[in-house]
Symmetry: C2
Subunit: 271 residues, 2 copies
Amino acid sequence: MTAFPVDHIAPAEALAIAEPLEPVAPTTTRTPAEEARTLVAQGKMAALATSSEDGTPWASAVLYAALADGTPILCLSTLAEHGRNLTREPRASLMIGEADPQGDPLDSGRVTLAGRAEALEGEAREAAVAAYKQASPASGLYGGFGDFTYYALRVDRVRWVGGYGRMDSTDADTYHAAEPDPVASGAAYAIKHLNEDHAHNLLDMARALGGHPDATEATCVRIDRYGLDLNVQTPRGFTSTRIAFAEPANKPGDLRGATVELARRARGDVA
Amino acid sequence: MTAFPVDHIAPAEALAIAEPLEPVAPTTTRTPAEEARTLVAQGKMAALATSSEDGTPWASAVLYAALADGTPILCLSTLAEHGRNLTREPRASLMIGEADPQGDPLDSGRVTLAGRAEALEGEAREAAVAAYKQASPASGLYGGFGDFTYYALRVDRVRWVGGYGRMDSTDADTYHAAEPDPVASGAAYAIKHLNEDHAHNLLDMARALGGHPDATEATCVRIDRYGLDLNVQTPRGFTSTRIAFAEPANKPGDLRGATVELARRARGDVA
């Protein structure tokens, strides 16, 4: 079902006993790098791990901005422990979780970017100041204090966890080259809207396109630029299936049309 | 205004030009240890900082439970990097943020607990399993797998940040001896309710009890067992004030009565 190594069976999947009765068209999923870039693009607060004076790893809360290639920007004070830590040991990592996780929080997305924090100067600092001010308007006030330094986290490696059994690693080049999912900011609303107002369309999809013609209930649990994931109830038990869009959504406004096309196709409408 | 060291002037306080015109009764605030215990009691997910094989500090997402004395319990797999890290280097820290921060996220609460992760055995493990299952029902399934270990984080030191200019440290004994704020779970609702339906009562409080008889607007920004914090507008400028309850609230149900008493007193009602 997934191209990612399954470390553990997911609690939901432990119940997934219903095999598809009909073949399902192959689907594309976001790559680990796309997942990572998407989490970084959607988030605002992160956990920073630095190394304290005695070597104890130190977790703290930071607000970050991201440059166009996904490089995280931090603005830290040496009056704070994490700021002092970085002046001694630049190796650090940043963990960013899903903006608004629903349900079991262990079944939600997060990513760790590990690398080296580089204090910025000159033009690189100016670009960082501008990006950071977008994320934290108040930094216009505090960012100029003498004890604050703007840092870029130069990423070495990336570990993404999407939830139970969905996880993978990627390298810095792949991470920087990937694109954040353009429809991610509308995903939570789309899922809610589909489940509340279009349950019959989701059921059509599960039956006609998802391999379960006997489905009795279908709930959208994830949506992305390539398609949507359904939890499906059948008389043979519970399962999940993924339905691909005809074309990937390339901008936020594409999500609606792509979903409507799926609904029509599932209903058997001729285009 | 605060008993805590002010590292930086807060953006809001940069505008706080209106001095009280009348004396304000002394107020109690939660201690840093109470703030820390409250955040730990309210939270569910945390960021864990461990030390990776090459020494890079590694930030990851974990679900935690807390024992009655505030000791955090983790349940980690050696298939995950943080689990492997702890088998090599038990020193770690845990950062827990406010459950549902409103407004500027840098002006919200978070705490870092630093110490040593101890793998639990015997009765200590049984107590941890029970506490963890309350926090993560699914751990009944995965917690028993052979690659999972239950850990207690033996806390050495605690750093609390409440927002701009509100921060302090405390030690392990003070942390464990403190009590989580019993009204914290109702605070967000109480703030919303007071601001939406009792703006006139808040204005009475700012005028009669908060030292600003010329206040034109008052908004509740924080509430706890000892009192509430108001942002106040006056013709002389913006400011903030804290109003103490007659008695600390000792259980969730006490918050309403304590606030009603304040409102009556502010209006000049004789008890």
